[in-house]
């Protein structure tokens, strides 16, 4: 698990640097960033947060079931985690579609370059995590448990919580941060 924690730690540091870089760029044109922020759908962003938090909760429950060797419940909670991950992907795709339909893309202005870059990198994390949860669910359903299952499942769960954690900061940074 040590290697996993190094990876997760490095990921949080990289995202931390990206968040600070966004703020640094914002200083150059705060009025543009504030005006652009108002075009984002904060309600949708809030719902995305609720979805990811719920997905993380399902994964915690799946790990607890795994610890009790309750494979039936583990499988059910893993599937719920994967489905909620998929819901986030669908919601974000809908949001991107809306932006493109209104002629907004990464080259529109520096705010939207950051918006698409940060949410895009995060979305890639969500897609990978959803795939891994789906993989664990499939293995669980087939009864493919062996001595590696615990560490692998715990690593995927920790990664999934990291995805949640990053969004908790990313959401207010892009959608909620008012000019003061």
């Amino acid at each position: 698990m040590e290697g996993v924690w190094v990876f997760l730690g490095a990921d949080t540091v990289i995202f931390g640097i990206l968040f600070v870089s966004f703020m640094w760029d914002r200083q150059k044109n705060p009025a543009l960033f504030e005006a652009s922020r108002h075009t984002l759908n904060a309600n949708l962003g809030g719902i995305d947060t609720l979805i990811l938090l719920t997905s993380s909760w399902f994964v915690v429950l799946a790990m607890q079931a795994l610890a009790r060797s309750d494979i039936h419940r583990e499988s059910r909670f893993l599937l719920s985690g994967a489905i909620t991950g998929l819901m986030f992907v669908v919601s974000k795709s809908f949001e991107y579609f809306q932006k493109f339909a209104h002629g907004i893309n990464p080259s529109t202005n520096p705010f939207f370059t950051w918006y698409f870059a940060l949410t895009g990198i995060h979305l890639l994390h969500v897609i990978v995590g959803t795939g891994l949860l789906g993989f664990l669910w499939t293995r669980s359903r087939r009864g493919g448990h062996h001595h590696l299952t615990g560490p692998v499942s715990e690593s995927v769960a920790s990664y999934w919580h990291l995805v949640d954690l990053l969004w908790i900061v990313l959401f207010p940074l892009l959608y909620l941060m008012k000019a003061v």
């Binding site: 914002r26 009025a31 909760w57 429950l61 954690l165 908790i168 900061v169 941060m177 000019a179």
Partner: protein, 91 residues
Amino acid sequence: MPVLRQRVTWVWLGLLGLTGLTTWVLPKDLFSPAVAVVGTFLTAAVKVRYVVLDFMELRGAPIGVRAAFEAWPFVVATIILGLLFATAVHT
């Protein structure tokens, strides 16, 4: 133990509540932008702390790992708010 009686379920419900507060209450005009934005980022840092301790289960991790993951949201939020207020002073 039933799911509804577990600590993690109460933590999850609390996190949903805090999300509702920062998304649909703090942005209202009842609060000044400074109060809203500081409240929003402090709440985000607290939410991350609960995810780290209760979802990632780092409560019993070695002190170095736990300290690093617990410090991260507060360090990031402090820098973000510092740069935000520095921008406000210069404009």
